[in-house]
Symmetry: C2
Subunit: 424 residues, 2 copies
C-alpha cells in the first residue's frame, strides 16, 4: 500500500520561440500556451501542437516536451490542469517527450515558484480534493478502488512476495526482492522481535511482512486488512508456507483490532487513514500495545501539509494523504507515546518505484490485455509521478518507532539495527 | 547546556498510620498532610514531622520518606508546593530519606494520577512560570544566571572537556569522558563532516564540540555563545590545543549568526530558545545552511507540552523549556527542511546526570566553600530531579538531523553512524 504525491497532473507549455502567430486561431493557442507557462513558472519545455507547430522558450533546447493532440485538450488544461493533465495523458491526447519522470520533475520544480501552485502549509490539506473520507464504509470503498483490481495485475510488477511499500536498499545495486526482504528485516529489528512474542499488524497488504515475521522471528501475528483480494492471497500463501498457525489474517478495519500485543506495526496504511482519524488509530494502538511493547509506523509523508491532486485522488488513491511529522504527533501525544527513532527513506522509495515502473513497462502488454491502454498510461503516470516526487523531495518516507514513556527496556543504541552477517 | 523537567519540587506526605491525633494542633498537621497526599496521588512515603511524629500509609513500609522541620514549611508546601519544596529542601527545612532520586520518582509517578498535577498537553506550556522571556536581552540575563556562576564550579563535576549536555554511552560501563567523546563523534558522523568543510555552532558551551570537530574532522568552526565565562574558557582551550585558527568563538546571540556553512549544529541550546523564537532560529538556519548542508539539533524534549516548575525556572534555568517534536516542527516546516533522522537518547541523559551527581557529591565540600550549603542542596535537587525525570520518561533527549528537501546527497543508510574501530 502506498500513496503518492499528486501534482502529477499539471502541465506547462513553453511559449514564444518559433511559433507562427500569423493565423488568428493559432494566435489564441499561443496565448493559451503562454498563460500556462506563466501559471506554472515557465519550465523549460518544448510544446508541440496538434498541427505540428512547435513552441520552445527562446534560445533554449529543452530536454523535455509535450505534444498536445487537440485544441480541446489545451482548453481543459487551462481550466483545471491538476485534474485534466492526468486524464488527457491517459487517453493519449497528451504525449510526453524526453521521459515522463524528467518531464514531471521539471514541471514540479517551476510550479513551486508560482503563486498559484506554490506548496504552502495548509492545515486542511488532507481534506482537499477528497472524493470520499475514511469512515469505516468510506475506507472500504477507497481501499477496494485501488487494491481489489486484481492480484494478477500487481503480480506483473511487484516482487514475488508482493510488497507494495518502500523497499530498503542496503546497497543501491541489490535487487528489488533483496531490498524488500531487507526492509522487512529492518522493521523486525526496529521492533526488537523475540520468538514467541505477539504482533498485530494494521494494514497488512498481501501479508508478506506477517509471514516473514513468523518465519524468521518466530512470532505470532494477527494481521488486519480490509482488502478482500489481498487477504485471500495472504491466507493462501501462509498455508503454502506452513505458517498458517502463526499468522492469522483478519479481513477487518484497523478500528476493530482487539487483543494486546508485544508489537504494533503498520507499514503503508497510515496514508489511507487520514489525519482526522489519527486519534482513533492512536486509541487502537494504546489499547493494543503492552506496557513493554514497541510500535512502528511506516508511512509516506511530507515536509509541509499540502493537498493531493484531484486526479490522483479520483483515479488512483481516493482517501489518501501523506502526513507531516507534525500531523503524525496526533497518533502519539494523547497517550504520551515516546518517539524513539525516525528514519527517512525518501530516496529508497524513488528507487523502489523505478523498479516497479521498469517491471510494469516490461509487462505493459499484459496490463493492456487485462484493462486497456488508458489504464496502462494512467498507471505509468502514477508511478512516474511517484519517482519524481520522491526524487525532488516533495514526498518523504518516514519510519517512526515508538514505545510507552515508561518503557526503559528499549534498546539504548542502534547496534540491534545492523543486520547480522548472512541475515536479510 | 541543558534544561531539566521541574516537577522537581512538589512533595507529598503520607497520611494516617501511626499518627497520634489526640493533640488539636497535631490534628491540624495530620489534616494538612492528608490534603497533600490526596493532592499528589497518595505516594508511598513516610513523613516525619518536626516533633518526631511519624506518619506512614497504613500497612505499608515506604522505601522513601521526608522530614519536615517545622510547621511553617508544611503550610508553605500546601500553599505552593511546586515552588516551595525546592526552596525548603535547599534551606534544610525538608530532609529526604531513602534517596532524593527515588523519592522524586515515587512522587512524580503518583502526581500524574491526580487532577491537579496531571501532565496534560498545554499549548502555552512554554510561557508558564517564566520569570523572563528569551528576547535578545532576556536571553542574556537567563544564560548569565546559570552559566556564568563560575567555570571553576562546573569543573568540579563535569568531565575534563566540560560538556554540559547528554553523553552517549555505547556501552553502559564506559566512563563519562568516553561517553562525551562518543557523543561528539556521533554528532560529527550524523553531520557527515568532511575535512575542509565549514560548520556553525549555535550555543557552544565551553566549546568542546567545536574543538573536537576541528581536531578530529579537520573542519573550520564558528561557534556562538552569549555566556562570557564559557567563551573565555573556550578560547583559552582552543589556543592551548593549537586549533585557534580553525575554531572561532563568537560571543553573540544565535540570532546574529552570519555566513553560510556546510553544517549547522546546536547541542543543548534549543532548551533556552523558547518555542516563540523557533521561527526566528529557523530563519537563521535557513540563511546559514548551504544547499547541500546538513543540520543537527540536540535538545531535551517532552512527549507532551507541559510547563517547567516555578522553582526550577526561578532558581536553576530561567527561560528554559524542553520542546515536543510537534513544537520543533516550527524550526523546519517554514523552510521545508526535511527531517532525516530522530534519535531519542533519554536514558543516556539519566546516566549522564548520575555521573554528574556522583562527582558533585564527591566535591560538595568545595562547592559549599564556593557558595553555601543551600546552593549545594539546590543543585543536588536539580541534578536528582533530572535523573528522575529522564528515568520515568517525563523528559526526552532528541537528536534531530535535517537537510534541505532537495538534498539528494545525504546518506542513504545509517552505516556512516557506526564508529570505525579505534575511533571514539
Amino acid at each position: 500500500m502506498k500513496v503518492f504525491k499528486a501534482n502529477t497532473n499539471v502541465l506547462p507549455l513553453p511559449c514564444n520561440g518559433k511559433a507562427n502567430t500569423s493565423s488568428g486561431v493559432y494566435g489564441v493557442d499561443v496565448w493559451l500556451v503562454n498563460k500556462f507557462l506563466q501559471a506554472i513558472g515557465e519550465p523549460a519545455l518544448r510544446v508541440v501542437l496538434w498541427d505540428g507547430k512547435e513552441i520552445v522558450p527562446p534560445g533554449s533546447k529543452p530536454a523535455v516536451g509535450m505534444v498536445i493532440r487537440n485544441r480541446a485538450t489545451l482548453w481543459r488544461l487551462l481550466a483545471n490542469p491538476l485534474l485534466h493533465f492526468g486524464d488527457d495523458y491517459s487517453t493519449g491526447r497528451i504525449e510526453i517527450e524526453g521521459g515522463l519522470v524528467a518531464f514531471m520533475e521539471t514541471v514540479y520544480r517551476t510550479m513551486d515558484n508560482t503563486s498559484k501552485f506554490r506548496r504552502v502549509p495548509d492545515p486542511l490539506a488532507y481534506r482537499r480534493n477528497q472524493p470520499r473520507l475514511n469512515s469505516l464504509l468510506g475506507s472500504q470503498h477507497n481501499i477496494h478502488h485501488h487494491y481489489d483490481i486484481g492480484n494478477a495485475f500487481y503480480q506483473l510488477w511487484l516482487d514475488a512476495e508482493m510488497l507494495y511499500t518502500c523497499a530498503y536498499f542496503p546497497d543501491p545495486a541489490v535487487s528489488l526482492e533483496e531490498a524488500q526482504t531487507a526492509k522487512m528485516d529492518l522493521v523486525c529489528r526496529k521492533l526488537c522481535l523475540q520468538a514467541g512474542q505477539t504482533v498485530v499488524e494494521a494494514g497488512c497488504g498481501w501479508g508478506s511482512l506477517a509471514r516473514y515475521m513468523a518465519r524468521r522471528y518466530g512470532v505470532n501475528v494477527r494481521a488486519y486488512n480490509i482488502s478482500r483480494e489481498q487477504i485471500a492471497f495472504a491466507r493462501q500463501r501462509a498455508k503454502a508456507e506452513g505458517v498458517e498457525r502463526q499468522v492469522e489474517y483478519i479481513e477487518d478495519d484497523y478500528r476493530n483490532i482487539t487483543g494486546t500485543y508485544d508489537a504494533f506495526v503498520s507499514v503503508g496504511m497510515l496514508e489511507h487513514v487520514g489525519p482526522d482519524h489519527y486519534r482513533e488509530l492512536g486509541t487502537v494502538i494504546d489499547r493494543s500495545l503492552r506496557d513493554e511493547g514497541i510500535g512502528l509506523i511506516h508511512t509516506i509523508g511530507q515536509n509541509i501539509a499540502t493537498p493531493m491532486s484531484p486526479w490522483f485522488l479520483k483515479r488512483i488513491f481516493p482517501g489518501s494523504y501523506p502526513p507531516t511529522l507534525r500531523e503524525m504527533m496526533d497518533l502519539f501525544e494523547p497517550w504520551e507515546f515516546t518517539v524513539l527513532d525516525v528514519e527517512n527513506l525518501r530516496l529508497h522509495y524513488a528507487k523502489t518505484c523505478e523498479h516497479w515502473l521498469e517491471r510494469f513497462e516490461r509487462n505493459r502488454g499484459q496490463v493492456q490485455e487485462m484493462f486497456d491502454e488508458s489504464f496502462v498510461r494512467a498507471w505509468r503516470l502514477y508511478l512516474s509521478g511517484c519517482i519524481a516526487n520522491f526524487t525532488i523531495g516533495t514526498l518523504q518516507l518516514f519510519q517512526v518507532v515508538f514505545s510507552r514513556p515508561t518503557n526503559n527496556n528499549v534498546p539504548q543504541t542502534r547496534s540491534h539495527l545492523i543486520a547480522p552477517a548472512g541475515k536479510s
